[in-house]
């Protein structure tokens, strides 16, 4: 079972890699949005001999030439076909990856006879799984954001790669300190909140790129902006993801405090993990606060959300690997 779990992890990573490649193809060659569609239609229209209106690219300026229109039309059509194929393949590969990912977690749990959240390797596997499921739900409900899949797949492949290469731990039963029903409650909600915050971070970062692009900034990373959904879509989405994750995170921290009371005798002791959970909570509370303050710009507020994710990463990797504390369950030597 343990072997099967390890093999399924490799399958999942490969599937996410394939989906990343497909998204990249779609990203590189795709024509999207109202402007791009208009541009294509006008190219096609010009080919049919109708008086062409000047087709303007989103960056302004480029007018479609009258000559060679027929070949352009053919190219546009074939490109559109190829990219929609790539987009579909990307989603397919993601779904396949999710199934392998789920199988990996289930096999791991069966091998260990417990929930697969006993060490850092398993925790990262779970957080990324929740993240990708949240992402698929989101992509199904809002097709406009599907293109963000490139960045989601990138984050997934990176995190899972780190999990497999650096954090990998043999299947082991739980240490006595983790033998409690609070283990299931605390760790599952912490993983759930982290997974949603992860997706929220992706949309927040994309919003910042897109907002910069819409303000006319040039150069990397703003140049990525013109293929992204509009800031008007990304910003409320970011906010909603955080409003979903924040109460879950609050509950996870509170459940951790109840458990800490039973295990260590105090509900809060400023252990490094607790301190960083507190910092993340305060930063995300600051984000929600800033979002509700009219005088704070939306991009400033979103930067706070990005900062929040950095504190989450610090808590997951920094505290587990570099600090000595009571939450030393990483199992990494």
């Amino acid at each position: 079972m343990s072997m099967l779990s390890d093999q399924l992890l490799v399958v999942a990573i490969l599937a996410y890699l394939v989906s990343m490649l497909c998204y990249a193809v779609e990203h590189a060659f795709g024509l999207r949005g109202a402007v791009a569609r208009t541009a294509t239609r006008e190219l096609v229209g010009a080919g049919a001999g109708v008086e062409p209106a000047p087709a303007t690219s989103p960056r302004g300026g480029a007018t479609s030439p009258r000559g060679g229109v027929t070949s352009l039309r053919g190219m546009a059509t074939s490109l559109r076909g190829a990219t929609s194929w790539a987009g579909r393949a990307a989603v397919g590969a993601t779904v396949f990856g999710v199934l392998a990912h789920l199988g990996c977690l289930v096999a791991r749990g069966l091998a260990a006879h417990r929930m697969p959240w006993g060490n850092m390797y398993e925790f990262v596997l779970t957080v990324t799984f929740i993240g990708v499921v949240a992402w698929l739900v989101l992509a199904a409900r809002r097709p406009a954001v599907r293109r963000l899949g490139l960045y989601v797949s990138l984050a997934l492949v990176t995190l899972l790669g780190v999990a497999g290469l650096v954090l990998y731990t043999e299947v082991m039963p739980l240490v006595p300190a983790l033998r409690s029903y609070w283990f299931v409650i605390h760790v599952s909600t912490a993983a759930l909140a982290s997974g949603i915050f992860l997706v929220g971070f992706v949309t927040a970062a994309m919003y910042l790129v897109r907002a910069g692009y819409e303000q006319g900034r040039v150069g990397f990373p703003y140049s990525l902006g013109h293929r992204l959904p509009t800031a008007g879509v990304l910003e409320p989405l970011t906010f909603r993801l955080h409003t979903l994750a924040f109460p879950i995170w609050t509950f996870a921290v509170a459940a951790g405090a109840v458990w800490a009371e039973a295990a260590w005798g105090r509900y809060w002791g400023w252990d490094p993990k607790e301190t960083w959970a507190f910092i993340s909570w305060v930063v995300y509370a600051g984000y929600l606060h800033a979002r509700a303050t009219p005088s704070v710009r939306r991009s400033t507020a979103t930067w706070i959300a990005v900062l929040g994710w950095l504190t989450m990463l610090m808590n997951l990797f920094g505290v587990n690997l570099f600090f000595e504390g009571l939450h030393s369950y990483a199992g990494v030597d």
Binding site: M172, P176, V258, W264, G269, G286, T311
Partner: protein, 494 residues
């Protein structure tokens, strides 16, 4: 709101040194270690409270200011909200077509009464003024928001209550009736009492560790710890079981199992032939419970201060098959062995300076007043070694010991209840949506044709859908239903 934002950010930043530097409240030994490693920097940091971040004046200043700002914001909002809860929905603005949602020519057969009934059915607050119907909904958002902020104050009060009336203490307890300890400050290894706790008021009970069991995997990873204690002081003595994650709950105190180890039992027969036995708890140094400690016999050899005897020991619960015998191979006692280093001389116990019971006095060793006599030997259970002066020490076996934390925090229920309210308030605040609608008769078109408009008062992406569903529902409201409803309402108050 901006002030609160700045203070929140400051609070997050101020907490960071608390995780980067060792804290006295978390681990005193590591603070001492930091002082030893950075003798120049540490005193400066200490003056800045860097080792007591969460008790420091500057950290307190930030959260006190935050709560002042919170009160300054919440109290006026509470007043406004109470007023809003009692007020009727406001009049329609003059230009309904300027609102985010807007529908013209809504025909409702039953007139304003039917509109009002349809809104009430959907739990809107309704006011009808001269044919115009105003509705408002989603007061729960502000209620939840206020509840969240007030619950934060509750959390702070609970923490304060705990620090005034709570207390905690630690104690190492060796198994066996002679190790029994009673709950008084004199018998603790260390303790901290809240500002309003009198040492005489601690609950009176005594605890004997009857048994302790640890089980391990073949890899040496622990699986289970279980302690059995005899508790007396609350009526007849009772046998209670507790373990990690399952503390011993007593009236007015909880007892938590924190750690465990082995205490070798040694019998030393001195020059006069007098035998003394000591149980010396050794401290585990690694996961295989290789343990180190000292067994001292200060009264040996007739109280001659220059001929006191002590043994530094290295206890291996499972001695490896081949040398070096410096690390245990397994945490359980499969092949126990005790390496003893004999010392004789002045142990320095009369100097009046508190010293570690797990180490010999380095000063005495350096001064030559205490010296090693003879080579170390590895003893098995029941084995003995003879010193150069013909005296003898026997290794009789070991006893288990546990470290316990005994605590009481009366603020806990307050904090827990506040956090529960905080969560409820938070969800109402985040997911609640305040919105208003108006239905105004179109002038000159009779009382049954309305212009409808809606205004979400917070971010609410779904309001367009809700508004169109509401307008559709109002259109199909049947007059008969309306009459019954309004009759019922008229009957209600009488």
């Amino acid at each position: 709101m901006r002030t609160a934002l700045v203070l929140l950010f400051l609070l997050a930043v101020a907490a960071i040194p608390g995780s980067l530097l060792p804290q006295r409240g978390v681990n005193v030994e590591r603070v001492a270690g930091y002082f030893a490693a950075h003798p120049d920097l540490a005193p400066v940091l200490d003056r800045l409270w860097a080792f007591d971040v969460f008790a420091s004046p500057w950290f307190s200043a930030i959260y006190v200011l935050l709560f002042v700002s919170l009160a300054g914001c919440v109290v006026p909002r509470l007043r406004d909200h109470v007023r809003a809860l009692r007020a009727v929905p406001p009049d329609a603005p003059r230009r309904l077509d300027r609102l985010p949602q807007h529908a013209d020519g809504v025909v409702v057969a039953g007139g304003p009464d039917a509109v009002a009934a349809a809104l009430r059915q959907r739990r809107w607050r309704v006011a009808v003024r001269g044919g115009t119907v105003a509705g408002e909904k989603g007061y729960l958002k502000e209620t939840g928001n206020l509840l969240f902020h007030l619950a934060l104050v509750g959390v702070l009060l609970g923490v304060a209550l705990g620090s005034w009336y709570g207390w905690h203490a630690n104690r190492l307890l060796v198994a066996g009736p002679d190790g029994t300890f009673c709950n008084t400050v004199q018998q603790y290894d260390d303790y901290g009492l809240g500002a309003r706790v009198d040492p005489g008021e601690l609950p009176r009970f005594c605890l004997e560790l009857a048994d302790f069991q640890a089980s391990y995997l073949d890899s040496g990873q622990p699986v289970r710890y279980a302690a059995t204690a005899v508790v007396s002081g609350f009526g007849p003595a009772s046998v209670r079981h507790f373990s990690v994650n399952d503390p011993l709950r007593l009236p007015g105190a909880s007892v938590y199992l924190l750690g465990h180890g082995y205490a070798p039992v040694l019998r030393y027969t001195d020059r006069a032939g007098r035998a003394q036995t000591t149980v010396a708890p050794f401290l585990p140094a690694d996961a295989s419970l290789t343990s180190e400690g000292v067994a001292a016999f200060p009264d040996a050899n007739g109280g001659d201060r220059t001929a006191q005897v002590a043994f530094e020991g290295l206890y291996l619960p499972t001695v490896p098959d081949s040398p070096p015998f410096v690390r245990s191979a397994y945490p359980a006692e499969r092949a126990p062995g005790l390496m003893l280093f004999p010392y004789r001389g002045d142990l320095g116990l009369d100097a009046g300076i508190p010293q570690s019971v797990y180490q010999l006095d380095r000063g005495q060793l350096a001064a030559g007043r205490l010296a090693q006599v003879g080579e170390p030997e590895l003893l098995r259970v029941g084995g003995s070694m003879t010193l150069d002066d013909g005296t003898r020490v026997e290794f009789l076996g070991t006893r288990q010991w546990v470290t316990l934390s005994i605590r009481h925090d009366p603020g806990q229920p307050v904090v827990l209840a506040s956090v529960a309210l905080l969560l409820v308030g938070l969800m109402a605040s985040l997911f609640g949506r305040r919105r208003r609608v108006w239905f105004r008769p179109v002038s000159g078109a009779g009382p049954a044709v309305f212009t409808a408009a809606g205004l979400p008062r917070s971010d609410y992406l779904g309001f367009t859908d809700e508004f169109s569903r509401l307008v559709a529902a109002v259109r199909t409201q049947r007059p008969a239903e309306t009459r019954q409803l309004s009759q019922a309402q008229q009957r209600g108050p009488r």
